[in-house]
């Protein structure tokens, strides 16, 4: 029976010491310990979340970089293509311009040559006419110096006309 009868002294000490233990631990141990554990758990979950976010951001950045790279590459190609087209155009334009200029120069030269030629021809024919007249004068002076010879020529001319 002794075993199951609570002893007054022990009851007293137990109430006292357990209350003190409860108060001390509540104030100096459980509150700070549990708070720190909670804080650490929050921190861990926050860190994990942050890490995940960072990873996602990294992936996004990578994708963006890829995109930018791709864009840059296509842009470069476009620029190159454009440059090539421009070059071709410039070259062909230059060629046409040059050809035109050359043609113009040639035509001008031709024209000048023709004009010069004409002028020369005109001058020449004038000269020839003059000379011919002079020659003819001199010939006529000599040929038709006698009457006979004049008549004979007239006759010949008439003959020629009647033939026509």
């Amino acid at each position: 029976m002794n075993l199951v009868t609570p002893d007054f002294g022990l009851l007293f000490w137990m109430v006292l010491s357990f209350s003190i233990l409860l108060i001390i631990l509540k104030k100096f141990a459980w509150k700070p310990i549990l708070k720190m554990l909670q804080d650490r758990e929050d921190e861990i979950s926050k860190s994990l979340e942050a890490a995940n976010q960072a990873k996602a951001q990294m992936e996004k950045l990578n994708a963006e970089n890829e995109e930018i790279l791709k864009q840059a590459r296509s842009e470069r190609e476009a620029i190159l293509r454009e440059a090539k087209a421009a070059k071709d155009k410039i070259v062909s334009e230059a060629q046409t311009a040059a050809k035109l200029e050359a043609d113009k120069i040639i035509t001008a030269a031709k024209n000048e040559i023709a004009a010069e030629k004409e002028a020369a021809m005109g001058e020449l024919s004038a000269k020839v006419a003059e000379l011919s007249v002079e020659i003819a004068e001199k010939i006529l002076k000599r040929e038709l110096a006698t009457e006979d010879k004049q008549n004979g020529y007239v006759k010949e001319l008439v003959k020629e006309i009647s033939l026509n």
């Binding site: 609570p6 002893d7 007293f12 357990f18 631990l25 100096f28 310990i33 554990l37």
Partner: protein
């Protein structure tokens, strides 16, 4: 692995030490009187005014503890229990009773009659209690300091292991049955109760000073723990809790009219903590009794013949090792069960809407 080896060694040393002490006791006993296993066991699991460690022949190695008694007639007396000479002598009119009523208790002799004074003595159990309370405070205040000094770092070593238990109590006991809001409110009590029971159970398994006292196997200790649970449950009882006791839903009106059902329900209020008290007390005491019983077997057989004694000792020690291992488990399970049931009772008290909770007893 290393820790396990150390623990095993530790247990073996203590068990053999205990064995040696016990043998000394019986050798002496054999000369004078027959070996009484019942008395040996009762002495070990009971309380005492001194802390008996070992007996060598006629020499008793024990730690004397202070006796504090208040007599209604002669006032306050404070003296060392060594003055009583292990119960053989009287001091200032006090002696340890051998009568049926007060066996083993300090009594005052007034006119030849034994009168029990108000006894506030620091007995073996009180001393062990004070020791464990200091130990628990020390451990957890140290743990707090450890956390403060290692903020933002991963814990390791002893406090990491302890943290596991703290988290177990928090997540699997308090939050599991009370939810976060109420769990936080009752957390300090649940934590304290859990570690008080657990550490005292473990100390009870160590056979020599400062362990070996049967603190959690003492009805007064478990009674106070249960009292705390009862008081906290009753104070925190919400409307639903009392309604459940006096006018439960889903019960025919003629049944819940006084006196039948309310009487049963009111009894239930008290049986819950009483069950807690008895379960812890009985489990821990039973564990001590079984371990001591196996030892007693050695000497009972040894008294018949030395050979039988040695033969039985092998089996007994094997069984005791097994029992010690089992007791380690029980030490944890009982702390767990007490705390879990306390938190379930609290959750019944603070439940805000009526829910069908499984009856746990």
């Amino acid at each position: 692995m290393n820790l396990l080896k150390k623990l095993t060694l530790f247990a073996l040393i203590f068990i053999t030490a205990n064995f040696a002490f016990a043998q000394n006791e019986t050798n002496q006993g054999a000369k004078e009187e027959a070996f009484e296993p019942g008395e040996l066991i009762m002495e070990h699991i009971g309380d005492a005014y001194e802390w008996h460690v070992a007996t060598f022949g006629d020499f008793h190695l024990s730690l004397p503890l202070p006796c504090i008694v208040y007599s209604e007639k002669t006032g306050l007396h404070v003296f060392s229990s060594s003055n009583l000479h292990h119960g053989e002598q009287e001091f200032e009119g006090f002696r340890i009773s051998e009568s049926e009523n007060y066996k083993g208790k300090l009594v005052e002799i007034i006119d030849g009659e034994e009168v029990r004074p108000w006894d506030f003595s620091i007995t073996k159990n009180v001393f062990a209690l004070l020791f464990s309370v200091s130990l628990i405070s020390f451990i957890f205040i140290k743990m707090k300091k450890y956390y403060e000094n290692n903020k933002g770092k991963a814990p390791h070593g002893f406090f990491n292991a302890l943290e596991l238990v703290v988290l177990f109590v928090r997540d699997d006991i308090a939050y599991a049955s009370l939810g976060k809001k109420h769990g936080d409110k009752f957390m300090p009590f649940l934590m304290t109760v859990f570690f008080f029971i657990f550490i005292n159970n473990l100390l009870g398994l160590i056979p020599i000073l400062p362990g070996g006292a049967n603190v959690t196997g003492n009805i007064a200790v478990t009674c106070v723990l249960a009292l705390f649970v009862f008081v906290i449950t009753t104070i925190n009882g919400k409307k639903e809790y009392w309604l459940d006791i006096f006018w439960p839903k889903g019960t025919p009106w003629w049944l819940k009219m006084p006196p039948i059902l309310p009487a049963v329900e009111i009894m239930g209020m008290f049986t819950k903590p009483i069950v807690l008290m008895v379960r812890l007390f009985a489990n821990i005491t039973a564990g001590h009794i079984i371990a001591l019983g196996f030892f007693s077997l050695i000497f009972l057989f040894g008294a018949k013949s030395a050979g039988a004694g040695y033969g039985v000792s092998t089996v007994s020690i094997l069984f005791t090792v097994f029992m010690s291992a089992l007791e380690l488990l029980v030490a944890f399970i009982q702390a767990y069960v007490f705390t879990l049931l306390s938190s379930i009772y609290f959750s019944m008290a603070v439940a805000e809407e009526h829910e069908e909770k499984p009856a746990v007893n």
